[in-house]
Symmetry: none
Subunit: 233 residues, 2 copies
Protein backbone atom coordinates (compact mmCIF):
# COMPACT_ATOMS: atom_id res chain seq x y z
CA UNK A 1 0.00 0.00 0.00
CA UNK A 2 1.66 3.16 -1.19
CA UNK A 3 1.17 6.61 0.22
CA UNK A 4 -0.96 7.85 -2.65
CA UNK A 5 -3.11 4.74 -2.42
CA UNK A 6 -3.94 5.30 1.23
CA UNK A 7 -4.73 8.92 0.48
CA UNK A 8 -6.99 7.80 -2.36
CA UNK A 9 -8.70 5.35 -0.01
CA UNK A 10 -9.22 8.07 2.56
CA UNK A 11 -10.70 10.46 0.04
CA UNK A 12 -12.83 7.70 -1.46
CA UNK A 13 -14.24 6.91 1.98
CA UNK A 14 -14.92 10.58 2.66
CA UNK A 15 -16.74 10.91 -0.64
CA UNK A 16 -18.64 7.69 0.01
CA UNK A 17 -19.95 8.89 3.34
CA UNK A 18 -21.06 12.18 1.86
CA UNK A 19 -18.48 14.55 3.27
CA UNK A 20 -17.93 15.83 -0.27
CA UNK A 21 -21.28 15.64 -2.06
CA UNK A 22 -21.43 15.34 -5.85
CA UNK A 23 -20.59 18.59 -7.58
CA UNK A 24 -18.62 20.09 -4.74
CA UNK A 25 -15.10 21.30 -5.25
CA UNK A 26 -12.40 19.69 -3.17
CA UNK A 27 -9.85 21.92 -1.44
CA UNK A 28 -7.00 22.98 -3.70
CA UNK A 29 -4.32 20.38 -4.39
CA UNK A 30 -1.83 22.39 -2.38
CA UNK A 31 -4.17 22.49 0.62
CA UNK A 32 -4.99 18.81 0.42
CA UNK A 33 -1.31 17.97 0.08
CA UNK A 34 -0.61 20.05 3.17
CA UNK A 35 -3.44 18.35 5.04
CA UNK A 36 -1.95 14.93 4.35
CA UNK A 37 1.60 16.17 4.71
CA UNK A 38 2.67 15.03 1.27
CA UNK A 39 4.03 16.53 -1.89
CA UNK A 40 1.55 17.80 -4.44
CA UNK A 41 2.65 15.06 -6.89
CA UNK A 42 1.74 12.42 -4.38
CA UNK A 43 -1.66 13.92 -3.82
CA UNK A 44 -2.18 14.16 -7.58
CA UNK A 45 -1.48 10.46 -7.89
CA UNK A 46 -4.34 9.86 -5.51
CA UNK A 47 -6.78 12.21 -7.23
CA UNK A 48 -5.81 10.82 -10.63
CA UNK A 49 -6.68 7.33 -9.42
CA UNK A 50 -10.03 8.55 -8.16
CA UNK A 51 -10.62 10.35 -11.42
CA UNK A 52 -9.87 7.12 -13.26
CA UNK A 53 -12.48 5.44 -11.11
CA UNK A 54 -14.94 8.13 -12.03
CA UNK A 55 -15.25 9.57 -8.54
CA UNK A 56 -13.58 12.87 -9.32
CA UNK A 57 -12.88 15.05 -12.28
CA UNK A 58 -10.63 18.07 -12.52
CA UNK A 59 -10.74 21.22 -14.59
CA UNK A 60 -7.57 23.17 -15.07
CA UNK A 61 -7.77 26.48 -13.30
CA UNK A 62 -11.06 25.61 -11.66
CA UNK A 63 -10.42 22.78 -9.27
CA UNK A 64 -11.10 19.15 -8.52
CA UNK A 65 -14.74 18.20 -8.27
CA UNK A 66 -16.74 15.26 -7.02
CA UNK A 67 -18.51 13.65 -9.90
CA UNK A 68 -22.20 13.22 -9.61
CA UNK A 69 -30.60 3.31 -17.59
CA UNK A 70 -29.72 2.68 -20.79
CA UNK A 71 -31.42 3.30 -24.15
CA UNK A 72 -31.53 0.41 -26.56
CA UNK A 73 -29.81 1.37 -29.78
CA UNK A 74 -30.16 -1.03 -32.69
CA UNK A 75 -27.13 -1.36 -34.94
CA UNK A 76 -28.46 -2.33 -38.34
CA UNK A 77 -27.58 -1.70 -41.95
CA UNK A 78 -29.48 1.54 -42.03
CA UNK A 79 -28.71 3.23 -38.77
CA UNK A 80 -30.20 6.70 -38.30
CA UNK A 81 -29.76 8.23 -34.91
CA UNK A 82 -32.90 10.36 -34.83
CA UNK A 83 -35.13 7.58 -36.06
CA UNK A 84 -33.66 5.03 -33.68
CA UNK A 85 -34.21 7.22 -30.67
CA UNK A 86 -37.69 8.28 -31.70
CA UNK A 87 -38.63 4.62 -32.14
CA UNK A 88 -37.51 4.10 -28.55
CA UNK A 89 -39.94 6.81 -27.50
CA UNK A 90 -37.28 9.31 -26.56
CA UNK A 91 -36.33 12.76 -27.74
CA UNK A 92 -33.20 12.75 -29.91
CA UNK A 93 -30.85 15.68 -30.16
CA UNK A 94 -27.45 16.63 -31.44
CA UNK A 95 -24.98 19.36 -30.60
CA UNK A 96 -22.48 19.95 -33.37
CA UNK A 97 -19.22 21.18 -31.92
CA UNK A 98 -17.08 21.55 -34.98
CA UNK A 99 -17.11 21.09 -38.71
CA UNK A 100 -13.77 21.26 -40.45
CA UNK A 101 -11.92 20.08 -43.50
CA UNK A 102 -8.45 18.69 -43.02
CA UNK A 103 -6.08 16.00 -44.34
CA UNK A 104 -7.05 12.46 -43.38
CA UNK A 105 -5.00 10.33 -41.08
CA UNK A 106 -4.06 6.76 -41.93
CA UNK A 107 -7.07 5.11 -40.29
CA UNK A 108 -9.56 7.50 -41.85
CA UNK A 109 -8.04 7.12 -45.30
CA UNK A 110 -8.12 3.33 -45.08
CA UNK A 111 -11.76 3.34 -44.05
CA UNK A 112 -12.82 5.69 -46.84
CA UNK A 113 -10.61 4.18 -49.53
CA UNK A 114 -8.50 7.30 -49.85
CA UNK A 115 -4.79 7.93 -49.81
CA UNK A 116 -3.52 9.18 -46.48
CA UNK A 117 -3.56 12.95 -46.51
CA UNK A 118 -6.46 13.32 -48.94
CA UNK A 119 -8.82 15.83 -47.47
CA UNK A 120 -11.84 14.88 -45.39
CA UNK A 121 -14.70 16.79 -43.85
CA UNK A 122 -15.00 16.17 -40.15
CA UNK A 123 -18.08 16.69 -37.99
CA UNK A 124 -17.72 16.40 -34.24
CA UNK A 125 -20.32 16.70 -31.55
CA UNK A 126 -22.49 15.18 -28.89
CA UNK A 127 -25.61 13.08 -29.32
CA UNK A 128 -28.42 13.62 -26.84
CA UNK A 129 -31.32 11.51 -25.69
CA UNK A 130 -33.97 13.30 -23.68
CA UNK A 131 -31.56 16.26 -23.45
CA UNK A 132 -28.86 14.18 -21.79
CA UNK A 133 -25.62 13.39 -23.63
CA UNK A 134 -25.30 9.73 -24.59
CA UNK A 135 -22.44 9.78 -27.06
CA UNK A 136 -19.59 11.68 -28.63
CA UNK A 137 -19.18 11.31 -32.35
CA UNK A 138 -16.56 12.12 -34.91
CA UNK A 139 -17.65 11.46 -38.47
CA UNK A 140 -15.42 11.94 -41.52
CA UNK A 141 -16.42 12.17 -45.16
CA UNK A 142 -14.34 12.24 -48.35
CA UNK A 143 -13.99 15.93 -49.17
CA UNK A 144 -13.22 15.57 -52.87
CA UNK A 145 -16.30 13.45 -53.52
CA UNK A 146 -18.54 15.73 -51.46
CA UNK A 147 -17.11 19.24 -51.86
CA UNK A 148 -20.17 21.09 -50.55
CA UNK A 149 -20.80 18.84 -47.58
CA UNK A 150 -18.96 20.96 -45.03
CA UNK A 151 -21.20 23.93 -45.75
CA UNK A 152 -24.33 21.79 -45.59
CA UNK A 153 -23.18 20.22 -42.34
CA UNK A 154 -22.84 23.65 -40.80
CA UNK A 155 -26.21 24.84 -42.11
CA UNK A 156 -28.37 21.80 -41.72
CA UNK A 157 -27.12 20.32 -38.45
CA UNK A 158 -28.23 16.84 -39.50
CA UNK A 159 -25.83 14.46 -41.15
CA UNK A 160 -28.46 12.55 -43.05
CA UNK A 161 -29.99 15.74 -44.39
CA UNK A 162 -26.61 17.23 -45.25
CA UNK A 163 -25.71 14.12 -47.23
CA UNK A 164 -29.05 14.30 -48.99
CA UNK A 165 -28.27 17.89 -49.98
CA UNK A 166 -25.12 16.54 -51.63
CA UNK A 167 -27.08 14.00 -53.60
CA UNK A 168 -26.60 11.07 -51.24
CA UNK A 169 -30.19 10.01 -50.78
CA UNK A 170 -29.38 6.71 -49.17
CA UNK A 171 -26.45 5.02 -47.56
CA UNK A 172 -25.91 1.75 -45.74
CA UNK A 173 -23.53 0.47 -43.14
CA UNK A 174 -21.10 -2.05 -44.48
CA UNK A 175 -18.96 -2.52 -41.42
CA UNK A 176 -19.35 -1.95 -37.71
CA UNK A 177 -16.71 -2.64 -35.12
CA UNK A 178 -17.31 -2.44 -31.38
CA UNK A 179 -14.86 -2.13 -28.56
CA UNK A 180 -14.74 -0.46 -25.16
CA UNK A 181 -12.61 2.10 -23.43
CA UNK A 182 -12.78 4.11 -20.25
CA UNK A 183 -13.57 7.78 -20.56
CA UNK A 184 -10.78 10.26 -20.02
CA UNK A 185 -11.39 13.55 -18.25
CA UNK A 186 -12.19 15.43 -21.44
CA UNK A 187 -14.72 12.89 -22.67
CA UNK A 188 -16.22 12.62 -19.22
CA UNK A 189 -16.76 16.36 -19.01
CA UNK A 190 -18.46 16.47 -22.41
CA UNK A 191 -20.68 13.51 -21.61
CA UNK A 192 -21.49 14.55 -18.05
CA UNK A 193 -20.13 11.32 -16.66
CA UNK A 194 -17.15 10.51 -14.50
CA UNK A 195 -13.72 9.90 -15.87
CA UNK A 196 -13.11 6.18 -15.75
CA UNK A 197 -16.65 5.29 -16.70
CA UNK A 198 -16.79 2.75 -19.49
CA UNK A 199 -17.53 3.86 -23.01
CA UNK A 200 -18.62 1.70 -25.92
CA UNK A 201 -16.77 2.70 -29.04
CA UNK A 202 -18.21 1.89 -32.43
CA UNK A 203 -16.51 2.41 -35.76
CA UNK A 204 -18.91 2.27 -38.67
CA UNK A 205 -18.31 2.61 -42.37
CA UNK A 206 -21.19 3.47 -44.65
CA UNK A 207 -21.37 3.25 -48.40
CA UNK A 208 -23.60 4.71 -51.06
CA UNK A 209 -23.48 3.40 -54.59
CA UNK A 210 -20.65 1.06 -53.72
CA UNK A 211 -18.35 3.80 -52.50
CA UNK A 212 -17.53 4.73 -48.90
CA UNK A 213 -19.22 7.97 -47.91
CA UNK A 214 -18.86 8.06 -44.17
CA UNK A 215 -16.69 6.74 -41.41
CA UNK A 216 -18.20 7.37 -38.04
CA UNK A 217 -16.56 6.94 -34.66
CA UNK A 218 -18.95 7.04 -31.73
CA UNK A 219 -18.20 6.82 -28.04
CA UNK A 220 -21.34 5.76 -26.18
CA UNK A 221 -21.87 6.15 -22.45
CA UNK A 222 -22.16 2.49 -21.50
CA UNK A 223 -24.48 3.23 -18.57
CA UNK A 224 -26.93 4.99 -20.83
CA UNK A 225 -26.96 2.82 -23.94
CA UNK A 226 -27.21 -0.84 -24.84
CA UNK A 227 -26.31 -1.67 -28.40
CA UNK A 228 -28.53 -4.32 -29.91
CA UNK A 229 -27.68 -6.39 -32.95
CA UNK A 230 -30.01 -7.38 -35.72
CA UNK A 231 -30.41 -11.09 -36.40
CA UNK A 232 -32.10 -12.08 -39.58
CA UNK A 233 -34.66 -14.80 -39.06
Amino acid sequence: MTLWQSIADLLRAEIARGLWPPGTRLPAEADLAARFGVNRHTLRNATRALADEGLLYSRQGAGVFVAASPVDYPLGDRVRFHRNIELAGKVPGRALDAVMTRPSDAAEALALGLATGERVHVAEGVSLVDFRPVALFRTVFPADALPDLARHLRDIQSITAALAACGIADYRRVSTRVTARVADAAQAARLQIDAGDPLLRTEAISEAGGRPVERGLTWWVAERVTLTLPHVS
Copy 2:
Protein backbone atom coordinates in the same frame (compact mmCIF):
# COMPACT_ATOMS: atom_id res chain seq x y z
CA MET B 1 -0.14 20.03 -27.84
CA THR B 2 2.15 19.31 -24.94
CA LEU B 3 5.57 17.76 -25.10
CA TRP B 4 4.41 14.40 -23.79
CA GLN B 5 1.57 14.36 -26.28
CA SER B 6 3.86 14.76 -29.25
CA ILE B 7 6.09 12.04 -27.86
CA ALA B 8 3.05 9.79 -27.45
CA ASP B 9 2.02 10.51 -31.03
CA LEU B 10 5.49 9.69 -32.26
CA LEU B 11 5.61 6.41 -30.37
CA ARG B 12 2.09 5.54 -31.48
CA ALA B 13 3.08 6.07 -35.10
CA GLU B 14 6.22 3.98 -34.67
CA ILE B 15 4.19 1.15 -33.16
CA ALA B 16 1.57 1.46 -35.88
CA ARG B 17 4.11 1.08 -38.64
CA GLY B 18 5.62 -1.96 -36.99
CA LEU B 19 8.87 -0.56 -35.72
CA TRP B 20 8.01 -2.08 -32.32
CA PRO B 21 6.08 -5.29 -32.95
CA PRO B 22 3.66 -6.63 -30.33
CA GLY B 23 5.44 -8.17 -27.39
CA THR B 24 8.71 -6.35 -27.85
CA ARG B 25 10.21 -4.36 -25.03
CA LEU B 26 10.75 -0.69 -25.60
CA PRO B 27 14.09 0.83 -24.66
CA ALA B 28 14.32 1.74 -21.00
CA GLU B 29 12.49 4.86 -19.93
CA ALA B 30 15.78 6.62 -19.28
CA ASP B 31 17.01 5.79 -22.80
CA LEU B 32 13.79 6.89 -24.43
CA ALA B 33 13.81 10.08 -22.38
CA ALA B 34 17.35 10.71 -23.56
CA ARG B 35 16.38 10.03 -27.16
CA PHE B 36 13.66 12.67 -27.02
CA GLY B 37 15.74 14.97 -24.86
CA VAL B 38 13.20 15.15 -22.06
CA ASN B 39 12.97 14.27 -18.43
CA ARG B 40 11.90 10.77 -17.52
CA HIS B 41 8.67 12.11 -15.99
CA THR B 42 7.73 13.64 -19.30
CA LEU B 43 8.38 10.41 -21.14
CA ARG B 44 6.31 8.54 -18.56
CA ASN B 45 3.39 10.85 -19.26
CA ALA B 46 3.56 9.69 -22.86
CA THR B 47 3.86 5.98 -22.11
CA ARG B 48 1.10 6.22 -19.52
CA ALA B 49 -1.22 7.69 -22.13
CA LEU B 50 -0.34 4.89 -24.54
CA ALA B 51 -0.86 2.34 -21.79
CA ASP B 52 -4.28 3.85 -21.15
CA GLU B 53 -5.05 3.36 -24.83
CA GLY B 54 -4.04 -0.26 -24.51
CA LEU B 55 -1.06 0.05 -26.83
CA LEU B 56 1.57 -0.48 -24.15
CA TYR B 57 1.83 -2.08 -20.77
CA SER B 58 4.61 -1.87 -18.21
CA ARG B 59 5.91 -4.37 -15.72
CA GLN B 60 7.91 -3.05 -12.83
CA GLY B 61 11.47 -4.21 -13.06
CA ALA B 62 10.98 -5.73 -16.49
CA GLY B 63 10.23 -2.92 -18.89
CA VAL B 64 7.60 -1.37 -21.10
CA PHE B 65 6.10 -3.68 -23.70
CA VAL B 66 3.99 -3.33 -26.79
CA ALA B 67 0.57 -4.92 -26.27
CA ALA B 68 -0.78 -7.51 -28.65
CA SER B 69 -3.31 -6.26 -31.15
CA PRO B 70 -6.91 -7.21 -30.49
CA VAL B 71 -8.62 -10.18 -32.08
CA ASP B 72 -11.54 -9.54 -34.36
CA TYR B 73 -14.58 -11.50 -33.21
CA PRO B 74 -17.52 -11.58 -35.58
CA LEU B 75 -20.96 -11.56 -33.96
CA GLY B 76 -23.25 -13.30 -36.41
CA ASP B 77 -26.27 -15.54 -36.28
CA ARG B 78 -24.17 -18.63 -35.89
CA VAL B 79 -21.40 -17.70 -33.53
CA ARG B 80 -18.98 -20.45 -32.59
CA PHE B 81 -16.01 -19.43 -30.51
CA HIS B 82 -13.51 -22.03 -31.69
CA ARG B 83 -14.33 -21.52 -35.34
CA ASN B 84 -14.22 -17.74 -35.07
CA ILE B 85 -10.81 -17.76 -33.49
CA GLU B 86 -9.39 -20.34 -35.85
CA LEU B 87 -10.61 -18.29 -38.80
CA ALA B 88 -8.63 -15.38 -37.36
CA GLY B 89 -5.54 -17.58 -37.45
CA LYS B 90 -5.26 -17.88 -33.70
CA VAL B 91 -5.37 -20.76 -31.25
CA PRO B 92 -8.67 -20.96 -29.37
CA GLY B 93 -8.98 -22.43 -25.91
CA ARG B 94 -11.39 -22.71 -23.03
CA ALA B 95 -11.01 -23.35 -19.34
CA LEU B 96 -14.21 -24.54 -17.73
CA ASP B 97 -14.34 -23.42 -14.12
CA ALA B 98 -17.66 -24.79 -13.02
CA VAL B 99 -20.70 -26.66 -14.24
CA MET B 100 -23.72 -26.65 -11.98
CA THR B 101 -27.48 -26.95 -11.95
CA ARG B 102 -29.45 -24.44 -9.92
CA PRO B 103 -32.68 -22.41 -9.95
CA SER B 104 -32.77 -19.61 -12.50
CA ASP B 105 -32.88 -15.97 -11.57
CA ALA B 106 -35.34 -13.55 -13.11
CA ALA B 107 -33.12 -12.43 -15.99
CA GLU B 108 -32.14 -15.99 -16.92
CA ALA B 109 -35.72 -17.18 -16.82
CA LEU B 110 -36.91 -14.31 -18.99
CA ALA B 111 -34.24 -14.98 -21.57
CA LEU B 112 -34.94 -18.71 -21.73
CA GLY B 113 -38.71 -18.40 -21.56
CA LEU B 114 -38.92 -20.15 -18.20
CA ALA B 115 -40.57 -19.27 -14.96
CA THR B 116 -38.22 -17.78 -12.40
CA GLY B 117 -36.83 -20.57 -10.29
CA GLU B 118 -37.04 -23.28 -12.94
CA ARG B 119 -33.73 -25.08 -12.95
CA VAL B 120 -30.93 -24.23 -15.34
CA HIS B 121 -27.53 -25.72 -16.09
CA VAL B 122 -24.75 -23.19 -15.80
CA ALA B 123 -21.30 -23.36 -17.34
CA GLU B 124 -18.70 -20.81 -16.30
CA GLY B 125 -15.17 -20.36 -17.48
CA VAL B 126 -12.56 -18.43 -19.38
CA SER B 127 -12.04 -18.23 -23.12
CA LEU B 128 -8.49 -18.13 -24.38
CA VAL B 129 -6.89 -16.90 -27.56
CA ASP B 130 -3.29 -17.89 -28.12
CA PHE B 131 -3.24 -19.07 -24.50
CA ARG B 132 -4.19 -15.64 -23.18
CA PRO B 133 -7.56 -15.08 -21.50
CA VAL B 134 -9.85 -12.88 -23.58
CA ALA B 135 -13.22 -13.39 -21.95
CA LEU B 136 -15.22 -14.73 -19.05
CA PHE B 137 -18.43 -16.52 -19.89
CA ARG B 138 -21.45 -17.69 -17.99
CA THR B 139 -23.87 -19.67 -20.10
CA VAL B 140 -27.18 -21.04 -18.86
CA PHE B 141 -29.40 -23.71 -20.42
CA PRO B 142 -32.89 -24.90 -19.54
CA ALA B 143 -32.33 -27.96 -17.36
CA ASP B 144 -35.70 -29.59 -17.87
CA ALA B 145 -35.42 -29.51 -21.64
CA LEU B 146 -31.82 -30.76 -21.59
CA PRO B 147 -31.53 -33.05 -18.57
CA ASP B 148 -28.25 -34.69 -19.59
CA LEU B 149 -26.47 -31.52 -20.61
CA ALA B 150 -24.68 -30.93 -17.32
CA ARG B 151 -22.94 -34.29 -17.56
CA HIS B 152 -22.01 -33.73 -21.19
CA LEU B 153 -20.70 -30.27 -20.40
CA ARG B 154 -18.38 -31.75 -17.79
CA ASP B 155 -17.19 -34.54 -20.06
CA ILE B 156 -16.93 -32.85 -23.40
CA GLN B 157 -15.62 -29.39 -22.46
CA SER B 158 -17.14 -27.87 -25.59
CA ILE B 159 -20.55 -26.29 -25.48
CA THR B 160 -21.38 -26.92 -29.10
CA ALA B 161 -20.44 -30.59 -28.81
CA ALA B 162 -22.29 -31.01 -25.52
CA LEU B 163 -25.43 -29.58 -27.07
CA ALA B 164 -25.02 -31.92 -30.03
CA ALA B 165 -24.84 -34.85 -27.61
CA CYS B 166 -28.23 -33.74 -26.31
CA GLY B 167 -29.68 -33.73 -29.79
CA ILE B 168 -29.23 -30.02 -30.49
CA ALA B 169 -27.42 -30.20 -33.80
CA ASP B 170 -27.82 -26.57 -34.66
CA TYR B 171 -28.72 -23.36 -32.93
CA ARG B 172 -28.81 -19.72 -33.92
CA ARG B 173 -28.52 -16.43 -32.14
CA VAL B 174 -31.72 -14.52 -32.05
CA SER B 175 -30.65 -11.63 -29.90
CA THR B 176 -27.38 -9.99 -28.96
CA ARG B 177 -27.01 -7.02 -26.68
CA VAL B 178 -23.74 -5.21 -26.09
CA THR B 179 -22.73 -2.91 -23.29
CA ALA B 180 -19.57 -2.14 -21.35
CA ARG B 181 -18.49 -2.37 -17.73
CA VAL B 182 -15.26 -2.00 -15.83
CA ALA B 183 -13.69 -5.11 -14.39
CA ASP B 184 -13.93 -5.75 -10.67
CA ALA B 185 -11.09 -7.36 -8.76
CA ALA B 186 -12.33 -10.93 -9.23
CA GLN B 187 -12.84 -10.57 -12.96
CA ALA B 188 -9.51 -8.82 -13.33
CA ALA B 189 -7.69 -11.65 -11.61
CA ARG B 190 -9.29 -14.30 -13.83
CA LEU B 191 -8.57 -12.32 -16.99
CA GLN B 192 -5.08 -11.21 -16.05
CA ILE B 193 -5.95 -7.56 -16.33
CA ASP B 194 -6.32 -4.74 -13.81
CA ALA B 195 -9.50 -3.95 -11.96
CA GLY B 196 -11.07 -0.95 -13.65
CA ASP B 197 -10.06 -2.05 -17.13
CA PRO B 198 -12.97 -1.88 -19.55
CA LEU B 199 -14.89 -5.01 -20.46
CA LEU B 200 -17.33 -5.52 -23.30
CA ARG B 201 -20.34 -7.41 -22.06
CA THR B 202 -22.48 -9.31 -24.51
CA GLU B 203 -25.74 -11.06 -23.75
CA ALA B 204 -26.77 -13.51 -26.42
CA ILE B 205 -29.82 -15.72 -26.68
CA SER B 206 -29.75 -18.69 -29.01
CA GLU B 207 -32.63 -20.79 -30.18
CA ALA B 208 -33.00 -24.22 -31.76
CA GLY B 209 -36.26 -25.26 -33.29
CA GLY B 210 -37.93 -22.05 -32.21
CA ARG B 211 -37.16 -22.53 -28.53
CA PRO B 212 -34.47 -20.83 -26.47
CA VAL B 213 -31.62 -23.23 -25.68
CA GLU B 214 -28.89 -20.95 -24.42
CA ARG B 215 -28.40 -17.60 -22.80
CA GLY B 216 -24.77 -16.60 -22.77
CA LEU B 217 -23.16 -13.74 -20.89
CA THR B 218 -19.65 -12.94 -21.97
CA TRP B 219 -17.30 -10.35 -20.57
CA TRP B 220 -14.61 -9.57 -23.15
CA VAL B 221 -11.34 -7.84 -22.36
CA ALA B 222 -11.80 -4.74 -24.46
CA GLU B 223 -8.08 -4.39 -25.12
CA ARG B 224 -7.85 -7.88 -26.54
CA VAL B 225 -10.91 -8.15 -28.73
CA THR B 226 -12.92 -6.12 -31.20
CA LEU B 227 -16.44 -7.26 -31.89
CA THR B 228 -17.42 -7.00 -35.53
CA LEU B 229 -20.97 -6.98 -36.83
CA PRO B 230 -22.23 -8.70 -39.92
CA HIS B 231 -23.99 -6.57 -42.49
CA VAL B 232 -26.06 -8.31 -45.09
CA SER B 233 -25.52 -6.88 -48.53
